[in-house]
């Protein structure tokens, strides 16, 4: 048997304190479709970024056709025949298909003549090779998403790609378009290309892949031939059996209903018919895969993309939330997912970040009161154990977990009724993570209604009093807090047991 096209051994990679990969083994043979499966945050994207040269591993080896490669750069990966097809193709919309392919494949020199005929012929040949019926003179803007993906694949082929990585290629495709894509993937396999196929959809993996590797918490937990495994076993591998962390105990003495949604939807963000109730003192976990509509729901509740259907009731009063200011004044707080862009202003000091949502309360008559600001900041720094050199330290100088605490402090200062936490522990080191869990639990005990969005399944299971599962923009199940991982994952994947 020839050496595998690609062989990864014990790859490890950390970002700050967070270990994204901790020993991953993976191999790919020519003429094989090898699926990569795992929860959000299991390490799939990091793995891809290492293989395409965007990140350097901290340790471990990458072997291409028997040769060990060190210091892989994006350019080198391209030269060695590694291509990645992303969900959103990166083509120039105003250029034609042939021009886009030409730009990728022709040598990049400003002073050279364009061989128009040659360019066109190549486009026809490459597109023909994958059985795509796309005229080369059409502007890319006129193509559908899957057609654009096909153009990307044609580029990859033209560049002599031996390894093609497809990252959730079907996430925005219709059924019919999927079939087209599948036949192209099979075509690639026939031509001896190795395909790494990443998808959340189990049925695709069974329809398309030869082998499947499951990643969990940055480790490869197993590789199996698709013919020798079933869905239940895959889900078991994905969620694992043991809980790796100790979660603070919940106290289920929920009070009045704080938030009540009835068939809430928003066309622009693809959320529809969401109904739920969150009570005071309760942590309501919101599970689902990336793109299931959880953040979109949070954005509706915080007035960033107002609802256009259904009813929202807060503490018994029906209301329309049209802006973050309005949400804030009503007692809704949102600690957003993208902490660096939305959660804190990195350049501003910790204290200024913490008071940003309570200007009106602590700065009467709009005059800054530095003393009051400082004492509020010191209170929260102590209360949440924020590690920083002081209230004047720029938020950007803090570690991820401490930035998250600053973001949390900002919203606790508003004394909200409802606290929405969106991936509060993503990219946060283990210590800070359990601290944040304890804080959330304490807040709930003090009577706050918490809506916890998380892709970290153990976190959802460990923290929630009840669990709502979203899929495709709507709530598909509400499970009790003691539900097992298998039940949640099955609902998130849309599997009926």
């Amino acid at each position: 048997m020839p050496a595998p096209l690609l062989e990864l051994r014990q790859l490890a990679k950390s970002f700050g304190g967070a270990r994204a990969l901790r020993g991953v083994d993976f191999d790919l043979h020519a003429g094989e479709v090898h699926a990569l499966l795992g929860e959000n945050g299991a390490g799939k994207s990091t793995l891809i970024k290492i293989v395409t040269g965007a990140h350097q591993p901290d340790s471990g080896t990458i072997t291409l056709e028997g040769k060990v490669v060190a210091g892989l750069s994006p350019a080198a990966a391209h030269r060695l025949g590694i291509a990645c097809i992303y969900q959103q193709p990166a083509l120039f919309p105003d250029l034609t298909v042939a021009e886009n392919i030409g730009l990728r494949l022709e040598p990049g020199s400003a002073l050279r003549r364009v061989g128009w005929r040659q360019r066109r012929d190549r486009a026809v040949r490459l597109l023909g090779q994958i059985g795509a019926n796309i005229p080369p003179e059409v502007e890319v803007r006129a193509l559908s998403m899957p057609e654009q993906q096909l153009v990307e694949i044609a580029c990859a082929l033209g560049a002599g790609a031996r390894i093609v990585i497809m990252d959730e290629p079907t996430s925005s495709l219709t059924q019919k378009e999927q079939h087209l894509l599948f036949s192209v993937v099979r075509e690639l396999r026939q031509n001896g290309v190795g395909v790494i196929y990443i998808s959340h959809r189990l049925e695709e993996i069974f329809a398309l892949a030869d082998r499947v590797t499951v990643l969990r918490d940055g480790q490869s937990v197993g590789t199996s031939a698709v013919s020798e495994i079933n869905e239940a076993a895959l889900i078991r591998m994905m969620v694992g059996r043991e809980m790796t962390q100790i979660y603070p105990p919940g106290e289920s003495a929920p009070g009045n209903v704080v938030l009540k949604l009835r068939d809430v939807g928003c066309k622009a963000s693809g959320v529809h018919a969401v109904s739920l109730e969150v009570r005071a003192g309760e942590v309501f976990g919101l599970a689902g895969l990336v793109g299931a509509g959880r953040t979109e729901l949070a954005r509706i509740l915080f007035g960033l993309t107002p609802a256009d259907a259904g009813e929202i009731e807060l503490a018994g009063t029906r209301l329309a939330i049209r802006s973050p200011e309005e949400a804030m004044n009503r007692g809704i707080a949102y600690v957003p997912e993208d902490r660096r862009r939305h959660g804190v202003v990195l350049e501003m000091p910790v204290a200024e970040n913490m008071t940003m949502a309570v200007h009106r309360r602590i700065f009467k008559g709009a005059w800054l009161r530095f003393g009051a600001e400082r004492s509020l900041a010191l209170d929260y720094i102590r209360d949440l154990a924020v590690k920083c050199s002081g209230p004047d330290a720029p938020a950007g100088s803090l570690s991820g977990g401490n930035q998250q605490k600053v973001s949390l402090a900002r919203w606790l200062a508003t004394k909200p009724q409802l606290l929405i936490l969106d991936e509060p522990t993503q990219g946060v080191d283990v210590g800070a993570k359990s601290e944040i869990h304890r804080i959330v639990r304490r807040l709930a005990r003090d009577g706050l209604a918490v809506l916890l969005i998380s892709s970290d399944l153990p976190e959802i299971l460990g923290m929630s009093d009840r669990i709502g599962v979203m899929r495709g923009g709507t709530m598909t199940a509400v499970l009790p807090g003691n539900a097992d991982a298998h039940a949640v994952m099955s609902a998130a994947l849309g599997q009926t047991r």
Binding site: S59, M328, V344, L346, R360
Partner: protein, 337 residues
Amino acid sequence: MSENSRSRWKSLLLRHETALLFVVVIEWLCFNAIGPRFGTLDNNFDILRHTVEIGLLALVMTPIILTGGIDLSVGSLLGLCAILFGKLWRDAGLSPFAAGLVTLGLGALAGGLNASLITLLRLPPLIVTLGTYSLFRGVAEAITRGADTFTNFPASFLFLGQERWLGLPTQMWLFCGVAVVVWLLVHRTTFGRSFRAIGFSPEGARYAGLPVRSRLALVYVLAGVVAALAAIIYTARLGQAKADAGTGYELFAITAVVLGGTSIFGGVGTVHGTLLGVAAIAVLNNGLVHARQPREAAGMLTGALLLLALSAGVAPKLWAAWRSRHHASPSPAPKST
């Protein structure tokens, strides 16, 4: 001297504003040595008088640039407001005082036009104010048909631009008033705080529940009002209102703001820095005249000063990066596998 206060002194000395203050003082001393009349009280009042209008525009440009925006229309608006003021006084028969009040209102309206295009239609400030830059000047020229000028203002009005009150050129008192108001707004109120938050991260400000749109609207309306005030002072100083008043002033104002240490990307900057930036440019321009240098030299030197200031701003960062690359302690050996 304790470690703490020493580092405070050091950071104060290394501040952009401190460096700029030295530049202004050195400029002044040099010109004083060259030009015989430069250092006289009369000439220094002259410098102040000639600086007030651009200074006012620079003052209100500061909060705009702090939000990450820009207003190219203030110079044109100055011209338009000068014409409107002249029209109101001569043709509508208003007293200069009443005409001035109405002009301030019209300036607010013009600023409101910029503000609504920027906040409601979410167009980029650069494009919006590039449009109103042409629009305001065009309207001013249309009103005067390019020929009409307004002169023969009463002496009571010219007092504002040509005389002294309590020992200082009259308009300086207005300028100082505006400077204090803008300084307090930017450095001592939640408004200034939100300007900087918006400048650093508009999305972050929105997620913090700050009223981003109304804050943005405020800075552009304020610019409109103050441009109108500058128009009135300009008219009083020269004793006439013409459609080409204030041509190119927006660029001087932006130069002064950036020279004063405000980041064109928003978030960073101070009002006192802007004042020093204005002073640096004003002293340079006046001093070159006294040193019998051609006017073009002023442009060259202003440009050079600006580029130097900008380069000096990033130099420490580059230096630190270079040092960490070349003088770093030997990096730990890669983990063995």
